[in-house]
Symmetry: C2
Subunit: 514 residues, 2 copies
């Protein structure tokens, strides 16, 4: 097959980390750049993927990068024009960006990762373990490195390409509501468009249905992507971009005391916070509100300010239904008091069925909700690229897109996904995203509510977060009015009918006495 | 194989309902009573099990019993000395008991079932859809039929044999704490023993790990026993026997206005109410607080009164971790707003792996928690009886035990499990229960709590229900104290080390420039 070569790359590409994403992106890099395997260097913490690296002839170094060794192991090798692709866990994004800026190298990651241990350090406050803090720590670098080598943070599937999905969805929603708009040119224009369309809430609405032959075993955590990564973010506080339409902060919600203020956090881990959402194929579902950078960055990007005062922002968060075995793994982990299971199994080649339906759900427009995203089956994934499942390919396609864009725009300093050219990225990534579609829906989170049990819901605005969130009633519910002090006689289901009116069911044959 | 024949049965046995339990109990009845297939009569609502009935030569009538036809279809056939085994759904327990009392027939069921529709009738109050009301409606019959034909209500696994497990556990706990006791002779004696041992809470702690080859499919509800039954009870309010040690009613909890007052209900379905519990094989886990008759009856049975005032009662409820596919089914059903999935699959012969660990967990004794129950694997089930999986065999063995006891004690009127001879029942059922064991544990629900997030827990008494229940924080949590207004610099994980102290990791080979 003759794949499009986007660029000839003359320097070195350092792949930091070689888990499911590193392994998945390598074939795409080799396929779409003019680059020799020897120009690539994998630096990773363990032996995973060593066979793949060998099969491609790519050098593989098993040496965990740490705060103490990264300047020697990576810094002494890094040269101007190189590209550092950080898809590791426990290696600081901020430290590597600073190193790249010093050396003149391009940089990309899929999460603002700190040095190891932060996510579950009980000596830090809940706020300090948030992605909000991590994002602010990366954004602090922006003024310092303006015009420096391009460093794209948080550009996988989500965070990452979902930011581009939001832009396409906004244009589609305008068209669907017969609102003529020009393609916005600036952040302010995009935010104004979202406001004009009445978008109150945005979910990253994802349903992964992939499965291996072998079911999750007791004491095992199974997932379609990094188990360390998922566990860590699941133990961080739930975080969400906090919309201007929200009437009240959740009882367990808090604002931060510094920074952009686009998001709040809950005093509660994401792995124990559930929300209602909707995707076209799954229909209504309950997912986890796991913290993600895009919840904060999209809400920040779409904020409208007038005279310094925030006048519009959508609520924005993840509503993640991981694959069934990961659901069971999360539940078991919660039952173990948040302690990760001793066994872990990341399923890539083992996946035999299912797809990943990953998109953005925009709520509040007059025409209804609109989901835009990627539906990628494992069968199509197998046809498209080796060493990937549907989940990883959605990530690695996005990485490929942002790498191409960074090479084409090499002096833009530190950037988030929302600041990249969404059409260019989509053009490069889409061939790997399966069916890329937008679908209208009439779902809202008040459907089928309060039929049997009283619920504390806001009927006047379906898009209040309190309606989205799955929460037990928190207030004392007024006593149910029993019809009598002893209601049994009044409940017809309990009465013993003795009427002689027999229905027309044919009588059973009368059996002879044995 | 030469099975023990407990009794020669001269009359007719009417099996009302022939789902998984009816199908599972039939071979045990034929095996352990001297009874001809023609003496048995199956009356059921659909075709399920028709092949099995034919293979045994047992008459099979597909005619749903209704309020309008039961007196004709069953009543006109029923004679003195017959036995009605009601393992149906939607057929009123109270109506059949009254019919049996009139006709002089023995009766047994595994749940106080109302006529169809009650569980999810939005015109009833939450209280009116409770098992408390159902149980009271059956207990009302007791004075009327004192000395009448024995009618055992709610005698499957749970409710049913778990009441006997509790008695054995109490004796074992006394022995384990070196407390010499005589076997209690009366209800009051059993309650006094539980009080003396300091039992504060009792869970029916069940973990089902059975699975078929074929995983749960989207839009499908999979379970190891009646899906109608599980769905219905899952949509009823959570209910629990309410202990005297509990300091405060849950915010969504309510007492009833009549009856024995041993239990409360939550304004919330059991399928959306989670609790922490423990079994020896599973360890700590999160299960569902699904309402069950035994939660109310065991708490009632173990109540101590002094001068009419309640001075002791344990909290008692179910902590059910159904099989993994049922967990996923419940979650999907909740996501669908409580609407049952269009496809259903009850797995019996299809089960290829797993076991049902079903027992009672008694909490509060000085020596620790004590779990007593049945661990039955699918492999052993296959050796023991046809037409069963582990879950159904735990139920059908209990039915067999209570049938034998009822035949031996035919004039005891309306009874719950706790009023039967637990040793006789255990003697008959145990050969079908796999490993019947008691295991001590040091678990309590405060382990691994509040490490990363503030929680509203009671450290002074682990056995408060508020510690057991999985609930988001309901109160506003005090603002986390950020160490600085802008804490990034103080978080070491975010700092970019520039020290020259390099660790002793061997350096990677220096690669030649390509």
């Amino acid at each position: 097959m003759d794949y499009k070569k986007y660029h000839a790359f003359k320097n070195h590409i350092y792949l930091i980390g070689f888990g499911s994403i590193g392994q998945g992106v390598l074939p795409l890099i080799l396929r779409h750049f003019e680059v020799k395997p020897e120009q690539i260097c994998i630096i990773t913490a363990d032996d995973r993927g060593r066979g793949e690296a060998r099969s491609y002839g790519v050098p593989f170094f098993k040496t965990p990068l740490t705060r103490d060794n990264y300047r020697k192991l990576l810094g002494e090798r890094l040269q101007k024009g190189d590209f550092v692709v950080n898809v590791s866990v426990d290696v600081s994004c901020v430290a590597l960006i600073e190193l790249c800026q010093e050396k003149g190298a391009l940089y990309l990651d899929t999460v603002v990762e700190p040095w190891g241990g932060m996510y579950t350090d009980p000596n830090l406050t809940v706020a300090e373990r948030s992605n909000y803090v991590l994002r602010e720590s990366a954004l602090e670098l922006r003024p310092k490195y303006r015009g420096g080598p391009t460093a794209v943070i948080c550009h996988g599937a989500n965070p990452g390409i979902v930011g581009h999905f939001v832009k396409q969805a906004l244009l589609d929603i305008a068209a669907g509501n017969n609102i003529a708009v020009e393609k916005p040119a600036t952040r302010e224009d995009w935010a104004a468009l979202a406001q004009r369309l009445g978008i109150k809430a945005i979910h990253v609405a994802e349903r992964d249905t992939q499965a291996a032959e072998l079911r999750k075993q007791p004491g095992e955590f199974v997932n379609t992507w990094s188990i360390d990564g998922f566990y860590s973010e699941g133990r961080q506080p739930s975080e969400l971009g906090w919309g201007t339409h929200e009437k009240a902060l959740p009882a367990d919600g808090q604002r931060h005391t510094f920074g952009c203020d686009s998001a709040i956090y809950l005093n509660r881990p994401g792995s124990a916070t559930q929300v209602r959402s909707w995707t076209p194929k799954e229909g209504p579902y309950i997912g986890y509100l796991i913290t993600h950078n895009e919840s904060i960055s999209i809400a920040d990007y779409l904020t409208v300010r007038e005279n310094g005062r925030v006048t519009y922002r959508p609520t924005c968060h993840y509503a993640y239904h991981p694959c069934d075995d990961a659901m069971l793994s999360l539940h078991e982990m919660n039952g173990r008091g948040g302690v990760l299971q001793p066994k872990q199994r990341l399923i890539t080649d083992e996946v035999v069925t299912g797809s990943d339906e990953l998109g953005v759900l925009l709520m509040g427009s007059a025409k209804g909700v609109y989901w835009f995203g990627s539906r990628l089956s494992i069968e199509e994934t197998r046809r498209l690229a080796p060493y990937n499942n549907a989940t990883s390919l959605q990530v690695t396609a996005a990485i490929l897109g942002a790498m191409v864009w960074a090479i084409e725009n090499p002096d833009r300093g530190v950037l988030e996904a929302e600041q990249l050219d969404f059409e260019r990225i989509m053009e490069i990534a889409s061939p790997y995203l399966g069916e890329v579609v937008g679908v209208w829906g009439d779902w809202n989170p008040l459907q089928n509510r309060s039929t049997l049990f009283p619920e504390d819901i806001d009927e006047t605005d379906p898009w209040q977060f309190k309606n989205i969130r799955v929460t037990p009633p928190v207030a004392v519910v007024p006593a149910a009015k029993a019809k009598t002090a002893k209601p049994i006689a009044s409940i017809s289901y309990l009465s013993t009918a003795k009427n002689e009116d027999i229905d027309d069911t044919p009588p059973m044959p009368r059996r002879a006495k044995v």
